[in-house]
């Protein structure tokens, strides 16, 4: 319907005048939208940043810091970036992501000479770091195994619950942490595995359990794997710390290799956030071991189908860094050295924290600090004790008592030990 220009113009002016008042008097669509609670982990850093105290210590979020408390960009990463800057165009990656990055990731997780890789039995896609890999798997599980649940360890990384919930996969928990010993409740764990219905899906932390730092021993992993065989359970590994836990990527993949040897067909989420320091690049990989090549192709196509309406295809920059490093023998060697360096510093800080606490004459046992592995230490502190640590000592950590050892330095370890000691002294 034709409208004269004059009429249109007048109408437009009238509407503009109305527009200004309309905003103020209009009822919002979003009246029923409540403010979301702060993320328990990321909210800690926000609070830390806002604190003006010079003594403040951030042992909250799991991002590696050097001994000066500074974020680190690995030399191998800087070199990789130098090589890729300006050289590559930014055309869309294939839907499943960078082929090279996927290849290298599979070698890391499944072994350089893995027969499964040679037989092309692994469906794998580049994913948005560990979160994205878990979410793709959860959505895949919902779509193709709609009656399945996911068994999640108690405790686990908080976002695991969010991921499977938003994917609408019902959750159950299984016993994991033993508060009294601050170690693994192995018999509880085995009972829950046995009692779960046959063919259940389990989320397992491949190494450096988050938040407890408590990992099964090799022997215990073998028993778990055996029981999984008996029960026909599906093992889904979240491996966010390969190389970062012991300093040796092969060693950190031991649990996965045991399961593969035992004939399990696994799923695996990998992240390069910590072990390559690529946090903000969101570089990761999701893989699922299938019967054969044809099935792997089909499964991969379905994973892509899930990714397409979520983000179309994954970001290239982080993937290029990963494939440049892992694909070049010299850079890979440098990376192995640097990741070991990070792991060694953490292991050193664990020893130092334990020694400091013992020196203070603490009557409690602090063995768990050095028994646990990876970035995190489950201190056993209560939420009230944590609050005291924060309010009195300006030490920031999550209220479940999880300490990010990456935030501990030679400069603050004594202060931290003293504060923890003080908080425990009151209870005793």
């Amino acid at each position: 319907m034709a409208m004269s220009r004059a009429a249109a113009a007048t109408g437009a002016v009238t509407r503009r005048r109305l527009g200004a008042t309309a905003a103020r008097s209009m009822a919002s669509w979003f009246g029923h939208v409540e403010p979301a609670a702060k993320d328990p982990i990321l909210g800690v850093t926000e609070a830390f940043l806002a604190d003006p105290s010079p003594d403040k210590v951030n042992v909250g979020v799991g991002a590696y810091r050097d001994d000066n408390g500074k974020p680190v960009v690995l030399d191998c990463v800087r070199e990789a970036e130098r090589r890729i800057t300006g050289n590559m165009n930014m055309e869309y990656l294939p839907m499943g992501g960078s082929i090279k990055m996927i290849e290298e990731s599979l070698k890391l997780a499944y072994g350089e000479d893995s027969q499964f890789i040679k037989d092309k039995r692994i469906a794998a896609v580049q994913a948005l770091s560990g979160t994205g890999a878990c979410r793709l798997f959860a959505d895949f599980q919902k779509r193709f195994l709609p009656d399945s649940h996911i068994y999640i360890p108690t405790p686990t990384w908080a976002n695991h619950h969010n991921i499977w919930r938003d994917a609408q996969v019902p959750q159950r928990t299984f016993t994991y942490y033993h508060p009294e010993s601050r170690g693994l409740d192995f018999s509880g764990l085995m009972d829950d595995i046995k009692n779960a219905p046959d063919g259940s899906f389990f989320l397992l932390h491949a190494c450096a359990h988050n938040p407890t730092g408590v990992d099964p021993s090799e022997e215990q992993w073998r028993e778990i794997s055996h029981q999984f065989k008996v029960k026909n359970h599906f093992p889904f590994f979240d491996m966010a710390y390969q190389g970062f836990a012991s300093g040796d990527p092969e060693r950190d993949a031991k649990a996965i290799r045991i399961f593969l040897e035992d004939g399990h067909q696994i799923g695996c989420a990998q992240s390069y956030a910590k072990n390559m320091g690529l946090y903000g690049q969101r570089a990761g990989c999701l893989s699922i071991l299938c019967d054969d090549e044809m099935q792997a192709v089909a499964v991969k196509s379905q994973l892509q189908q899930i990714a397409r309406p979520m983000y179309s295809n994954p970001p290239v920059h982080g993937a290029l860094i990963v494939s440049t490093i892992l694909g070049d023998p010299e850079l890979k060697t440098l990376w192995l050295k640097e990741v070991k360096g990070m792991a060694d510093r953490i292991i050193g800080m664990r020893k130092a924290l334990k020694q400091n606490l013992e020196k203070l004459g603490s009557p409690m046992s602090w063995e768990h600090i050095t028994n646990q592995i990876g970035m995190f230490c489950y201190s056993g502190m209560t939420p009230e004790q944590v609050d005291r640590l924060t309010n009195e000592f300006h030490i920031y950590m999550t209220r479940n008592g999880r300490i990010s050892m990456a935030g501990v330095t030679t400069g603050n370890v004594a202060y931290l030990a003293n504060a923890i000691h003080e908080c425990h002294a009151v209870i005793i």
Partner: protein, 415 residues
């Protein structure tokens, strides 16, 4: 030989997914060995030499970033603050009252797709009874996004095959007929796949009916700057709605206008009635993003923030964008000229000149499009859409021959 722990794979019943209709085209193109082949499938900009193009400002920004040597820490869930500020200002205009009043919730997200998906997830959670109205036709992935987010949708008339133009009356009627409080998905500029945009007068009328029906306008802005060559002009439809005091959803992408396709950089913006509402909405969008990807990738965001934040680079960007848009306009003209000269049937091809942006809806149907591929090795999507970004002046005559042949004869060679 490792013993299998399971007798039958759990994934036995997983079928092969169909090839993506858009991204699958490029894959088919790559496999074709014919010299004359032409890829008019996916909407990625090509130079006259049909090479991918990295904008000079992007190279500059990356070099600058390399020199600065910034760390790669996690961004907050909502993304890079400098990027969010820049992107909202680009979209709404730096002086827009809605920004000064703090009424816009902006989250960096994974390009256009990611922005749309976050919005869709939000709609599903907070407006579970509502429907999204999408244009017929629209970008194929829109349907996938709403399907996977479990948001019901229906179509409003848009494309008129008789005129190869806009079915404006049908569009208005369908928006009118929908239940009050529906979400109306609108392409801010350079409609994909048709290239057909409403006129400014038509936009006013669309806003009228949306306001009258208390619908929520939901813009997909994937081509700001790329359509006309002017960032402000291409944002005028969005700004028109905002000026009326409406609450609005807007998804943005920098894939095309900054050539950052693979970096996955975009934003979801929600214009709210008050700053307090905007805070709540933002917090809930964050809650949806956290279990999807935790926080967005940093690299593309830094590039945008650097380019937009530096007056010299910003000026250079505007110039490069004008050049890209200009090349497309030239190619449109040449294609039209070739078609008019070669086609003796008297068919009016001028619709090509009235369309705008990267794509042109040729009016070819599926059989005819197949003929384009099978006989002429020209790759396009089956809906008759060609990407002019993949067309060079040199290839216009060949393309014209193919289109004329397919349109009039429309029979593919038997495979």
């Amino acid at each position: 030989m490792m013993a299998l722990a399971v007798d039958v794979s759990r994934f036995e019943g997983v079928p092969m997914a169909p090839p993506d209709p858009i991204l699958g085209v490029s894959e088919a193109f790559k496999a074709d060995k014919n010299d004359l082949k032409l890829n008019l499938g996916v909407g990625a900009y090509r130079t006259e030499e049909l090479q991918p193009y990295v904008l000079n400002v992007v190279k500059k920004a990356e070099t600058l970033m390399l020199e600065k040597g910034e760390n790669k820490e996690y961004l907050p869930i909502e993304g890079l603050a400098a990027f969010n500020k820049a992107t909202a200002e680009l979209l709404f205009g730096a002086d827009n009252p809605v920004l000064k009043q703090g009424r816009v919730a902006t989250l960096q997200s994974l390009s256009g797709t990611g922005s749309l998906r976050l919005a869709a997830a939000f709609i599903q959670r907070y407006f579970p009874e509502a429907k999204v109205l999408i244009s017929s036709p629209t970008w194929g992935n829109h349907k996938n996004i709403f399907n996977d987010a479990r948001v019901p949708w229906s179509e409003y008339r848009y494309y008129d095959p008789k005129t190869v133009g806009l079915d404006f009356e049908g569009m208005i009627a369908d928006i009118q007929a929908a239940p009050d409080g529906s979400f109306v998905l609108l392409h801010g500029c350079a409609h994909n796949p048709t290239g057909i945009d409403p006129t400014p007068e038509q936009w006013e009328k669309i806003a009228d009916v949306i306001q009258e029906k208390k619908h929520m306008p939901f813009f997909d802005v994937a081509y700001q700057g790329f359509a006309s060559g002017s960032l402000d002009e291409d944002a005028s439809s969005v700004r028109l709605f905002v000026e009326r005091g409406l609450e609005v959803f807007v998804a943005q992408s920098y894939s095309k206008n900054l050539g950052l396709y693979a970096e996955r950089i975009g934003a979801i913006n929600v214009v709210c009635s008050t700053p307090e509402v905007a805070n709540r909405v933002k917090s809930q969008l964050k809650r949806l993003a956290r279990p999807m990807y935790s926080n967005p990738p940093i690299h593309g965001a830094r590039i945008v923030a650097n380019v937009v934040g530096d007056p010299t680079m910003f000026g250079e960007w505007k110039q490069e964008m004008e050049e890209m848009a200009g090349r497309i306009k030239n190619v449109r003209q040449k294609l039209y000229d070739s078609l008019s000269a070669k086609d003796k049937s008297g068919k009016d091809w001028s619709f090509i000149l009235r369309q705008i942006g990267m794509f042109s809806y040729t009016g070819l149907n599926k059989t005819q499009s197949d003929n384009m591929t099978d006989k002429w090795h020209i790759y396009m999507t089956k809906d008759g859409r060609i990407s002019l970004a993949g067309l060079s002046l040199a290839k216009c005559e060949y393309l014209a021959d193919a289109i004329i042949d397919s349109f009039h004869n429309g029979l593919g060679t038997a495979k």
